[in-house]
C-alpha cells in the first residue's frame, strides 16, 4: 500500500530466509537422499533410482503403522473434541472457583508430554502402579496395561487425551467467550430449552472454530511418537508403532538413511493430502450446516 520495496523486504525477508534455510534445504536434501542407498555400510548419495520407493510399497509394517496412526489419532482427537467442548460449556458461565478450575483444566497441555509419559508408564505398571490397585477395588484382576496390544493402544490414547483435551478446551472456551449474546437470548425468549439452544445456536456458531481446532489437533496428532516411544516402545511387538516411530527406528536406529528418507517423504505427502481432504470435508459439513 505505502510502498517502498526495501521496507517491505526489510520486514519479510529475515524470517523468510531463515525458515527457507532451516526447512527447505533439509527437505530437498531428504528427497535426494531418498533416491540413494545410504546406510550404515555404504554412506553417501549413491543413486539407486526408485528402489527405496519400490521397497516401501511392499513394506507391510509401514502401511500398518499408518493405519494404526489413523486409528489412534482420530480416536484421540474425537474424544478430545467432545470432552473439551463439554468442559468449556461447563465453565464458560460464571461459576464459583471459575479461575482455579480453568487453570487446572489448562495445566496438562503445559506439561512436557514426554516427561508426563514417563510418569504415566509408572502409573500403569502392572504390579507396582496404582491403576491395577484401583481396579482391584472393584474386584477386577490385574490388567496387562502395557503388554497386551489392545490395552497398550488404550493407554497411548488415554495419555494423549489427558495431555491435549486442554488444548481443545482452550480454543473452544475462547470461542464461546467471544460469541455474541443476542442469539442465545433470542432462543431463550422463544422458549428453546438448553439442548435445543445448543444445537440451533451455539453449535453452529462454534463450527468454524471447531473445524480449526480439530485440524490443528489432527496435524499435531499425526506426528505422535514420543508417547509411544516412552510408554510402550511401539510394543508389544509392533502393536502401538506409529509411522513416525517406525521411520525413527529405520533411520536413526538401523541407520537405513536412504530408506528412512523415502518413508519420510511418502509419509509427508500422504499426511498433506489426507489432512487437506479432511479439512475440506469438515469445513463443508460443519460450517455449511450453519446456513
Amino acid at each position: 500500500m505505502y510502498g517502498l520495496t526495501r521496507y517491505k523486504l526489510f520486514f519479510l525477508l529475515p524470517g523468510l530466509i531463515v525458515l527457507l534455510a532451516i526447512i527447505l534445504f533439509p527437505l530437498v536434501f531428504t528427497i535426494r537422499v531418498s533416491f540413494s542407498g545410504w546406510d550404515a555400510m555404504t554412506p553417501g548419495l549413491g543413486w539407486i533410482g526408485g528402489n527405496n520407493y519400490g521397497r516401501l510399497l511392499a513394506d507391510g509394517r509401514f502401511w500398518q503403522s499408518l493405519g494404526r496412526l489413523g486409528m489412534i489419532a482420530s480416536t484421540a482427537v474425537a474424544l478430545e473434541y467432545a470432552l473439551g467442548f463439554a468442559l468449556a460449556l461447563l465453565v464458560w458461565r460464571q461459576i464459583r472457583f471459575r479461575r482455579v478450575v480453568r487453570v487446572l483444566f489448562l495445566i496438562p497441555m503445559m506439561t512436557t508430554p514426554v516427561v508426563m509419559a514417563v510418569i504415566w508408564r509408572t502409573i500403569f505398571h502392572e504390579s507396582l502402579g496404582p491403576v491395577n490397585d484401583f481396579v482391584a477395588l472393584f474386584g477386577i484382576p490385574p490388567v496387562q496395561w502395557l503388554t497386551s496390544p489392545e490395552w497398550a493402544t488404550f493407554v497411548v490414547i488415554l495419555v494423549d487425551v489427558w495431555q491435549w483435551t486442554p488444548f481443545m478446551f482452550l480454543l473452544l472456551l475462547a470461542g464461546l467467550l467471544s460469541l455474541p449474546r443476542e442469539p442465545l437470548l433470542a432462543a431463550a425468549i422463544d422458549g428453546a430449552g438448553p439442548i435445543r439452544a445448543f444445537l440451533n445456536v451455539t453449535f453452529p456458531a462454534m463450527a468454524p472454530i471447531s473445524v480449526g481446532a480439530i485440524i490443528i489437533r489432527l496435524i499435531e496428532a499425526s506426528k505422535i511418537m514420543e508417547t509411544v516411544y516412552v510408554v510402550t516402545s511401539g510394543g508389544p511387538g509392533t502393536s502401538t508403532e506409529t509411522s513416525s516411530y517406525y521411520i525413527f527406528i529405520r533411520g536413526l536406529r538401523d541407520f537405513q538413511i536412504g530408506y528412512a528418507a523415502a518413508l519420510s517423504i511418502t509419509y509427508l505427502v500422504i499426511m498433506i493430502v489426507l489432512l487437506t481432504i479432511i479439512a475440506k470435508v469438515l469445513t463443508k459439513t460443519l460450517v455449511k450446516a450453519e446456513g
Binding site: 517491505k8 532451516i22 526447512i23 536434501f29 514417563v118 470461542g175 525413527f248 533411520g251
Partner: protein
C-alpha cells in the same frame, strides 16, 4: 431438576479435575519414596503407607547413587528455549507485520501463500527433518551443542510466532500506522514507535506459545545431542530404563513441569481479556 443439573455439573468438574491432578499427586508421593517404598507395590500416604525420605530431592542436585544432576540440563533447557523463542519472536513479528500491512507479489505467490508457507511448517513431522538436521549440524560442527539446538528450535517456533502475530496485527487498525507516517515516520519508525507498543498482548501470547513448544520438545533434543549438551526432558527420559529409579524420576519430572504451570496462570489471565484464539 435444576439441583440435579447442578449436581451433575459439579460431579463432572470434580471427576475431570481428579483425572488431571492424579499423575501429579502420584509423582509427588513417589518422589518421597525410597526403593523399599516402590518395590513393595503401590503405596500412597507418607508415614502411613511408607516412610518418606528426601533422598530423591537431594539427589537432584548432587551425585549420589541412582541420582541425576538436573541443574545443568535445567540451565541448558532455559537457554535454548528462551533464545529460540526470542529469535523466533523478533523474526516472526517483523515478517507478520510485513504480511499484515504490505502486499507482496512474486509471480503467482501472494501474501496468503506466504503466510500459509510459514504456518504450514507445523505440518512437518519432526522425524522427516531429523536425518537432514543430524547431517547438517554434523557438517557445521554443531551436533551436541546448545547453538545447534537453538537453530533447529527457531524453525519449530517461527511458524507459531508468525501465525499468532499476523492475526494480531490484522486487528490493529491501519489508520494508526498511516497517521504516524503522515507525521513523518518511516515505515520502520512507525512500526517501532506506534505499532509495537500496541502489540504487547499479542507478543505475550506468541511468546507463551513459543516457550511452551520450545520447553516441551523432546525429539530434536533427543536425536541431536548426546553427552556434552543435555536438555531436561532428555535427562529425565534417560532415567526411564528397565531398573527405573521412580523417586528421582518423579522429583525431576515435577521440577521440569513446574515452570510451565506458572505459564498456565498467565494463559488464563489473557483468556479472560479475550486475546487468545485470534478474536476480540
Amino acid at each position: 431438576m435444576r439441583a440435579f443439573y447442578l449436581l451433575l455439573k459439579v460431579a463432572a468438574i470434580l471427576v475431570w479435575s481428579a483425572f488431571v491432578i492424579a499423575p501429579f499427586l502420584w509423582a509427588l508421593t513417589t518422589s518421597f519414596k525410597t526403593a523399599n517404598g516402590v518395590t513393595g507395590g503401590p503405596t500412597y500416604i507418607p508415614w502411613v503407607d511408607y516412610q518418606p525420605s528426601l533422598a530423591a530431592w537431594q539427589g537432584l542436585f548432587g551425585s549420589g547413587a541412582g541420582s541425576i544432576d538436573i541443574v545443568g540440563p535445567f540451565i541448558s533447557s532455559v537457554m535454548v528455549t528462551l533464545s529460540a523463542s526470542l529469535v523466533s519472536l523478533v523474526l516472526g513479528t517483523l515478517a507478520a507485520y510485513g504480511l499484515s500491512r504490505f502486499s507482496y507479489k512474486a509471480g503467482p505467490v501472494g501474501n496468503s501463500d506466504l503466510t500459509f508457507f510459514f504456518v504450514s511448517q507445523r505440518i512437518m513431522p519432526p522425524v522427516v527433518l531429523a536425518i537432514p538436521f543430524f547431517l547438517m549440524l554434523g557438517w557445521l560442527g554443531l551436533l551436541d551443542t546448545v547453538l545447534g539446538l537453538i537453530i533447529v528450535y527457531v524453525a519449530l517456533l517461527l511458524p507459531i510466532a508468525v501465525w499468532v502475530m499476523v492475526d494480531f496485527f490484522n486487528t490493529i487498525p491501519k489508520e494508526l500506522d498511516e497517521t504516524a507516517m503522515i507525521d513523518g515516520c518511516t515505515p520502520i519508525e512507525a512500526f517501532w514507535r506506534v505499532i509495537l507498543p500496541n502489540a504487547v498482548p499479542g507478543l505475550v501470547v506468541a511468546g507463551i506459545f513459543c516457550i511452551i513448544f520450545g520447553w516441551n520438545d523432546f525429539f530434536f533434543a533427543f536425536t541431536l545431542t548426546f553427552t556434552q549438551t543435555q536438555l531436561l526432558p532428555v535427562a529425565i527420559v534417560s532415567l526411564n530404563s528397565s531398573v527405573t529409579p521412580w523417586w528421582s524420576l518423579s522429583a525431576s519430572a515435577l521440577i521440569s513441569v513446574t515452570p510451565l504451570i506458572v505459564v498456565a496462570f498467565l494463559v488464563e489471565r489473557y483468556l479472560d481479556k479475550g486475546s487468545i484464539g485470534g478474536r476480540k
